[in-house]
Symmetry: C2
Subunit: 412 residues, 2 copies
Amino acid sequence: MVLVRLKGFEKLTNVDEALSIFFKALKPKRLGIQRILVDDALGRVTAEDTAAPVDLPSFDRSAVDGYAVRAEDTFAASQFKPKTLRFTQKNSVNRGQARQVWTGNPLPKGSDAVIMLEYTRTTRNQLQTLIAVTPGENVSKKSEDISEGEIVVRAGMRLQPYHIGFLAALGIIYVNVVEKPKVAILSTGNELVELGKKPRRNKIVNSNRFVIEGLCRELGAEPVYLGIAKDDEKDIGARILEGLEDADVVVTTGGTSVGVADLVPIVVNKMGKPGVVVHGVAVRPGMPTALGILKSKPIFVLSGNPVAAIVGFEVFARPTILRLQGIEHESRPVVKAQLAKRVAGVLGRRVYLRVKAFEKAGEFVAEPVHTKGSSLYSSMTRANGYVVIPEDREGLEKGETVHVHLFSSLAD
Amino acid sequence: MVLVRLKGFEKLTNVDEALSIFFKALKPKRLGIQRILVDDALGRVTAEDTAAPVDLPSFDRSAVDGYAVRAEDTFAASQFKPKTLRFTQKNSVNRGQARQVWTGNPLPKGSDAVIMLEYTRTTRNQLQTLIAVTPGENVSKKSEDISEGEIVVRAGMRLQPYHIGFLAALGIIYVNVVEKPKVAILSTGNELVELGKKPRRNKIVNSNRFVIEGLCRELGAEPVYLGIAKDDEKDIGARILEGLEDADVVVTTGGTSVGVADLVPIVVNKMGKPGVVVHGVAVRPGMPTALGILKSKPIFVLSGNPVAAIVGFEVFARPTILRLQGIEHESRPVVKAQLAKRVAGVLGRRVYLRVKAFEKAGEFVAEPVHTKGSSLYSSMTRANGYVVIPEDREGLEKGETVHVHLFSSLAD
């Protein structure tokens, strides 16, 4: 079949070029900075480098329960030839002495190692060590974890449980994080009704809203729902304006294709400069995606088909929302897997193929989820990741090694 | 060195055996079920299978903007030999007719395919199609996504954005989810002070609390902090009792080793039956971990060393908290990588080695994070995953293929 395009997109922009055009044109305002308790900081993104205010540990301390000693006093001790040391209660250990310490206790002056409890025998005032220890053994040295002034967490890090623990261990109570980006979400289409409204015949429940809200939350952004706009320029324009006033990002779904209903890009272009900077992307699904900028804020005009909207969000909105937070790189987990069967690509288009990845006899396998349309939720719920078929490939071969980008847990 | 054990654990239980003993002895009460709005269900775990109440789509609908036709009327049409059809405004399409439809519109009676707008030319009341379409082309068939009565989401699924969208698309407003398990967290140790209290000399900020809270939240559980108990049986016992009354799970840190300060397992055993079912696990770090059960509730007695506590939580508390929610399997993402250098293991112990995994020239590489102790937060913040060295291996070889379990995003 010869590709004829009498109407439609003059030219589809390839994904990398689209991203490059968009990021070059976008000069977003920096998000605000919030000072919050470390208790509340899980999953938030740091706004700046944080330096250690003190050494950790702040003193040489015992890493075990046992006896602090001078290591040289234990040399040559063994199970069969124990060495005998005298107990001291003082906070310093002299030659031939041992002092009991618990995990975390400061190392008494003069001692340089700790013998674990279980390698000793005790009498009333004598200790027999059944092993030799080397200087520093079972000791957490001052600043072994981090030195005063060193960076604990860099700017642009999403805080994990152990980051919070690290900050707390250093006595840090507050941390400066980036404000959650607000994402205004607009659904368009005369055919849509809100969930819970009695759906009349031929109407469709607006479900994209929930998908986009969820995807935003997963990135640490705060969704703001703008409702459903009719296929009407004024209605769409007014709501986008509302979104631009309140939010840092606007995402719309529906009204992106090239028919008469192709309203959202038209409206965005009428609202100001630069307006739409990309319309029509060489991607499948998600071809009619448009990328706009108004008031220095990004606008993602996504397809009304759920899967196409998800792909458009993944490819364009996701990296943008991460960048706004100062995160340069936060990839989905990737597994290398063998493709279970041949799949067709589309020359000149980047195809996002849903697959189910699982482990089989120690090997990872990616099984393409068969689906016709980009409107099927079941193609997502039966998959746990996607594989990218590059623009220059007619397809991927059975058994070929592919990268699976996981959006859910590996399957059994 | 000959391993001598005069005090200490009689015997270390290996990890798989410990899990088996523990799960056999644990007969947890089922968590309650909560009926919530799908709007609030992101990340929650389904309590039951949910069946589709209707077909989706509920009618044959157009998947594109274009013209609904009888496919046979278009056969043999081409760019060079277009076929001409007459427009109709009616809701049925007869031979030789075409009716304009937008994406999502119901397919008019009599039509069986849709020609995309861009492959047509129109005059006032005539349509020229430049391509042939096959029956079903560009049509979303009734129930193509799911049929009434089919399962949309199974019990024990953590709801992702596209699950929520799927449920909403089907008109489902409420979903039954498992109540969030409550996890009571107790920190023990005379050396500990709360974050924010002026730390006196030789004191340590209680940071484990924040780590365990974060790990719980990541699993969808609700942490309840019980404070710091002194190394005192009464204090520890009273707080564990408080935890057992209010929560579904108790996690303690500190006071697990075999010295005089080995209080928590002693207390748990005094509190009732079966008490401690495992004490001392052949794992590194985390050897002094104890697993207890009181009032049919699991008690995880973890090390006071942060990394050992994290490993103990990962190995024992994580699968338990998931099971309580009805999730049989929710693995961390796994990448296969080549180990960058040789690492030593410990025969008879399962070693959790922190590594930094990254992609280099298309290959994944796992670089061990060098660290002596299990007390160092920096060994976590410099890593993004762990590799398991099995009990029967003296070490892993440089270049060996290993599975990296990611706890954070892949590194650059």
